[in-house]
Symmetry: none
DNA sequence: AATGAATGAGTATTCATTCAT
DNA sequence: AATGAATGAATACTCATTCAT
């Protein structure tokens, strides 16, 4: 009867759901969506196959929620960062944001690989495409605010360009792996954008 | 049995193989690799399922060859262009190369979607990863030569950055479709790179 | 804890059990036994899945009790009717019984569909087969008593034939639905049986 | 190239399809549609699970074709009988038809059980319901022709009634099995219908 | 008594690949 | 070289039943 019980159930359910989401993210990114079976996810999340369906209606819905979860973290981190730095000079903000991005790229390589691959496969899984599109828009809007601070003439397009640049870097990082000069490119970008802006 | 017949057979085989590759490309990029069955490819290429295996050992090998075909078109176009323009001023070469790239992006949308999609999903299918890696290197080397002509301090890294930028634009184009301001970004890039380089 | 409470609980349980039986009957006859899940029954009976097992050991036992309930209604109605009419001339009794049957057929279509459906599928579920067999016998015995009153030479076989006829009519009614000339057939049967008997 | 090859293939395919239909009929009738798995059918028909789908699109379609096959035989036999006897007195025709029906009931018990159970389960498998309905109509039309010969006032309704009677007998036969006095009921029916008609 | 999360056996269907013709 | 029937491993999803709370 006490609210605590309900709340505890919610938390348990939440944590179970999280277990599944984390297991799925890891497997989807490592082996790809199609090479990951529900059985494997269940095993990794330490519950039964059937229980997956208590939390998610289908494999596709699970995929959607994995993507949303991943990017909610990213965009929240970005929002926090912008909030904290709002008194600093724009160039500093820009630099920090780029650094934050590169950090995330290294630390959440799996999530990026998954999301980008979904972004590209438009028609294979339509529901996910929509999810990815709306997330991508939020990220671009974050960048746009920074370019506005920097006094850019066309913050929207600059944001798109920088977004494209970082996506491309992600792809190259995925193709070339640890041989890829991530840090040096990071420096080049910061230099290019803060030199004469 | 005459040489002519053999040659004709070779041509037929060549064209049959091409039929298959084109059918596969179209289906893979429209529906994704995993949602395309060998039966569908056979139907689209107007031969039997069994006959696919006369030309390709497996679906995975077929995929590899589709990717190779796709990139080959891109690199050949680039080589031709560089050859034709080798007397022109570097900035003109650069501009033409970027324009050629954007043109191809619009006109060969399918090919790029597939290629990038595969580049990103890469880790799931090792043999394709290797194919993509080696061909991607060739593209970067092409760009590198142009940056060398332009007198860049670090042509290799500049090539990587420009490659990343164009890949990212491809992805955004795929995500946003026809709403995406392809032409304007093209102009921004040319301006940025030729203004003070 | 008072006896009253216990009695109330009994009643509650009785009514709960009834709710479940009615919900099951409705779903079984609408969608079929195999297409009805315990979850659906629970939802329709407004209790939880787990609670079903407080009242019934298994889905199969639930099915058995649904069938028993269905036939019991039929036999009870018949017993009442025979009781009320025991002073009337046999032909009147016969006529009323047939009329009562046709009325029930129209008004309790669901119940008959289920019951007959189960009677036919019988061999797949042995426990239901036994239930159906013993209850069907009771119905035949009722008819047998009427044919004895009518002075039939072979009341047992006549009862079987009339039982068969009415079952067959039920089936045709189920197959053809409202297009089926139920009333006219009812008249034909009464005429046939009371003309020269 | 010769027609023979194609024809042979057709025959092989025909016989394979027949193997499957016969195996299915036997299993569906014995264990019921839902308790028969595609694996069991494949095993009984001595081919692989996957091959079932070369001949039938789904389990439901297989069921449909089982029913159609079974009744095509029955109605064809009825047509033949009527044709052969068209010179005989109507009462003889009637007698032979009823006898033929009872024979089929004994010898094709499985088919009847299956069909009746499908007839009753309207909404569970809609496509099959339609199949059963059209078959049932053909059987009734056959009976109608005989009642017309017998000079009945209302051959359509008489046909329905006799159809109902025989369906009901089928059901009772299924419920009571070998204890059921099939022969004696057969005689009663023939006597009743030919006595004063 | 009541709940509903957890279980895992069970099943229809798909599909790359093989091979006899 | 071409065919397409045959194969059977693989897999998402369902659902009756159990049981801790």
């Amino acid at each position: 009867m006490s609210p605590r019980t309900k709340a505890q159930l919610e938390m348990l359910k939440g944590s179970r759901k999280n277990q599944i989401l984390l297991a799925s993210l890891s497997l989807f990114s490592e082996k790809g969506y199609y090479h990951t079976s529900m059985k494997e996810i269940a095993d990794k999340a330490k519950l039964s196959k059937g229980s997956l369906y208590t939390y998610f209606d289908s494999k596709e819905q699970l995929l959607n929620e994995v993507v949303v979860m991943g990017f909610k973290e990213a965009t929240n981190a970005g929002d926090d960062l912008l909030m904290q730095m709002k008194e600093l000079p724009p160039k500093e903000i820009f630099k920090s944001l780029v650094q934050a991005y590169f950090l995330m790229l290294k630390e959440q390589k799996e999530l990026w690989r998954l999301t980008l691959s979904l972004a590209v496969q438009v028609s294979a899984i339509p529901s996910v495409h929509n999810t990815v599109m709306s997330i991508y828009n939020r990220l671009i809007e974050q960048l746009e605010r920074v370019f506005t601070l920097l006094g850019s003439d066309n913050p929207k397009k600059e944001a798109l360009l920088l977004g494209a640049l970082t996506d491309g870097i992600s792809i190259q990082f995925m193709i070339f792996g640890d041989r890829y000069p991530l840090e040096e490119l990071q420096e080049m970008i910061i230099t290019k954008y803060t030199k004469n802006a």
